[in-house]
């Protein structure tokens, strides 16, 4: 196209860019706030007006990963000199790192909770997307009696706010011993995500011409081989988009994690706010925990961004 732009169009363009910038700032501001607080010394975290320029430091992360206690007396110069650099940061904040009788550093609960979050979110995403892909393929390719009703039933599992069933679920989980276990949360999150995954994947499967697999069937491949060799690569975009959504849902889930877990299998979302102490709240540690918690989703989404863009515009795939 010959781009002949009038001055009116150009100023309209500028206006649009300004609009986009404003929206972007509104969306990014809270993230910047969290990220900057995660690197602030404690005394700057809650100043009014907020401190924007400061010397960033790593102490919130050291505190996040260690168990600490208040210092009653200042450390002796020998103690201070003998401590590694990260322990000095804690001393500077008026706290000390708790050590066991043998002198081992005591970890805080955060690394475990973070691992729990990863285990639960990744496993439930794999399960939900995997089962969803197979189910969607079945619905898309075979004539199934009551197909519409079944699909509606699958969708209906999302019509109730999940919290409504929290108490019965809690009682059932306690009865079968799934309380505070990884599998308990994995099963729950898989169940939440499955209907979403089936519906989304069905859309993508319907877009893949069935002629591709039929050609493979006629060529002498089994249905399974045709599925893995032909359908799956074609569905990669849809799988990526579905996986990101499922992962984010499972990663961010708070209510059930709070109710169903308390120690062994607790995930990061209920743990982070529990660190707001009764007397003194160290917001820099909370921010550091939240900041680290944001990273996996950001990385995952970034890695799959090309697929996501194509996935969002499905229906526009060239035939």
């Amino acid at each position: 196209m010959a781009a002949v732009t009038t001055s009116a169009e150009r100023s309209l363009n500028k206006l649009a860019i300004v609009g986009v910038l404003i929206v972007t700032i509104i969306f990014l501001a809270p993230i910047y706030w969290i990220a900057s607080t995660a690197f602030k010394p404690r005394n700057l975290a809650t100043t009014i007006p907020p401190t924007v320029v400061f010397q960033p430091e790593i102490s919130p992360f050291v505190k996040l990963f260690t168990k600490r206690s208040q210092l009653r007396t200042a450390p002796t110069p020998e103690q201070y000199a003998a401590a590694p650099w990260w322990e000095r940061l804690v001393f500077d904040g008026g706290e000390k790192v708790v050590r066991s009788g043998r002198g081992d550093v005591q970890w805080s609960g955060y690394p475990n909770r973070f691992m729990n979050s990863l285990i639960v979110a990744i496993t439930s995403t794999i399960l939900a997307v995997g089962m969803g892909t197979f189910t969607a393929y079945g619905f898309s390719r075979f004539k199934i009696k009551g197909e519409q009703d079944l699909l509606f039933f699958i969708l209906s599992t999302r019509m109730l706010p999940p919290v409504v069933v929290a108490i019965p679920m809690f009682l059932m989980y306690r009865a079968v011993g799934l309380n505070d276990t990884h599998w308990g949360l994995i099963i729950l999150y898989t169940a939440f995500n499955l209907s979403f995954s089936v519906w989304l994947m069905k859309g993508f499967m319907d877009e893949i011409p069935k002629e591709y697999e039929e050609a493979a069937l006629v060529d002498g491949y089994t249905r399974m081989e045709a599925f893995f060799k032909i359908v799956l690569p074609e569905a990669a975009t849809g799988i990526a988009a579905t996986a990101v959504f499922c992962f984010i849902t499972a990663w961010n889930e708070y209510a059930f994690a709070l109710i169903m877990t308390n120690r062994r299998a607790q995930t990061a979302p209920p743990f982070i706010p529990s660190q707001v102490g009764s007397g003194l709240s160290d917001w820099t540690v909370i921010a550091a925990g939240t900041f680290l918690f944001l990273l996996p989703v950001a990385i995952f989404t970034f890695l799959l961004r090309n697929h996501l863009l194509r996935g969002m515009s499905f229906g526009a795939i060239r035939k």
Binding site: E211, E214, A215, A216, L217, V218, D219, G220, E234
Partner: protein, 361 residues
């Protein structure tokens, strides 16, 4: 090499009846064209032979063996479709290798390479082997599709409108090429199309399918010159056969409701019982001719110049007739002309059933 028989096949999809009591016999090494409009059941027939669809009733025999329980892989057929038959992520070479690689075949890598190269040479697509399929033109894609079918040496080739998506020039070229390939291979081809020109020019035999039934099977010559009913008569031929209502009175064809008459003496075999009975007269446009002393006057309604010939639309009262005349014929629109027909070429159809009297007899 295979002899295919379809016996009394019926198939319904929900409320829609796709095929009813279909019978087909495709001889070994034959180029059989299944001709019909969209929705006539051509593709369903093809898919049932391929094993992608199961008939509700009836039998499918390949070389005399009932293949009801055979999967698509076991039937050893090759399928070429109008589109989507190439895998988009693969190169041309990978696409050609794909049918040779299933576990059930166990073909040595060297053998695969030789076969792929030979096929590429036959179809003149050697320069495309390393290209991704989304970088091919429509004609190249269909060449590769045909290559994918040939490379496997299947028992039967099934082709579902493989040329329909191509532009006219290419379609003509590939038509000839495909026919040559079939003759060289000596294999059984079942070719499905809605294009009667493709059917006439390629088929050893043509089966005309209408609403899930085979209306007529025969050589292109038989289909064209001796259509079984008015459907075949109007479907095959371009422009189609003229069909005019009328009856026979004392050896003359009297056309109702306009009452123009044409001599019919010495025409198609007639007997006393055809006299006075309501009939449909079928006459091909090329069997109508203009002559100054001819019995009927008409006006030229339209002239289409096709280079080698002209197609005239003649108007007699409300009836429109098409006549193919030599290009040198000099006529103008609204000019009165006189025309006659070749009575030997007239096909008589029963008005009620639409069936040709020759076939009904």
């Amino acid at each position: 090499m295979a002899h295919i028989q379809l016996k009394n096949i019926s198939k319904t999809f929900g409320n829609h009846t796709a095929l009813t009591g279909l019978n087909l016999d495709i001889a070994d090494g034959e180029f059989f064209v299944l001709l019909g409009e969209t929705g006539a059941g051509k593709t369903t027939t093809l898919r049932m032979i391929a094993g992608l669809e199961k008939p509700d009733e009836g039998q499918i025999l390949i070389d005399g063996a009932d293949v009801a329980d055979w999967g698509a892989a076991e039937r050893d057929v090759a399928l070429v479709l109008q589109q989507y038959s190439l895998y988009p992520r693969y190169t041309v070479r990978e696409n050609l290798e794909f049918p040779l690689k299933p576990k059930i075949r166990r073909i040595e890598p060297d053998e695969i390479k030789t076969r792929v190269d030979r096929v590429a040479k036959t179809l003149r697509i050697e320069h495309l082997l390393d290209r991704k399929t989304d970088r091919l033109s429509g004609g190249e894609m269909q060449r590769v599709s045909i290559g994918r079918a040939i490379v496997r040496k299947p028992r039967v080739f099934l082709m579902d409108e493989p040329l329909s998506a191509l532009d006219a020039k290419l379609r003509e070229a590939l038509r000839t090429e495909l026919k040559n390939i079939q003759m060289n291979l000596g294999q059984t081809f079942l070719f499905v199309t809605h294009d009667q020109i493709e059917a006439m020019s390629m088929g050893d035999k043509v089966g005309v399918l209408n609403h899930g039934r085979i209306v007529q099977t025969g050589t292109p010559y038989e289909i064209y010159n001796n259509p079984r009913d008015t459907y075949v008569a109007s479907f095959v031929g371009s422009p189609p056969m003229n069909l005019i209502d009328g009856k026979l009175v004392n050896g003359r064809a009297v056309m109702a409701p306009l009452n123009f008459e044409l001599p019919f003496a010495g025409g198609a075999r007639t007997s006393g019982e055809t006299d006075g009975r309501p009939l449909v007269f079928g006459i091909r446009p090329e069997d109508l001719y203009l002559e100054s002393g001819a019995p009927v006057e008409a006006r030229v309604h339209d002239v289409e110049n096709h280079g080698v010939e002209k197609i005239l639309t003649l108007r007699v009262g409300d009836t429109m007739l098409r006549a193919t005349v030599p290009a040198r014929t000099d006529v103008e629109i609204e000019q009165p002309v006189r025309f006659a027909w070749d009575p030997d070429k007239v096909v008589l159809f029963d008005k009620g059933t639409g069936v040709s009297l020759r076939h009904a007899g």
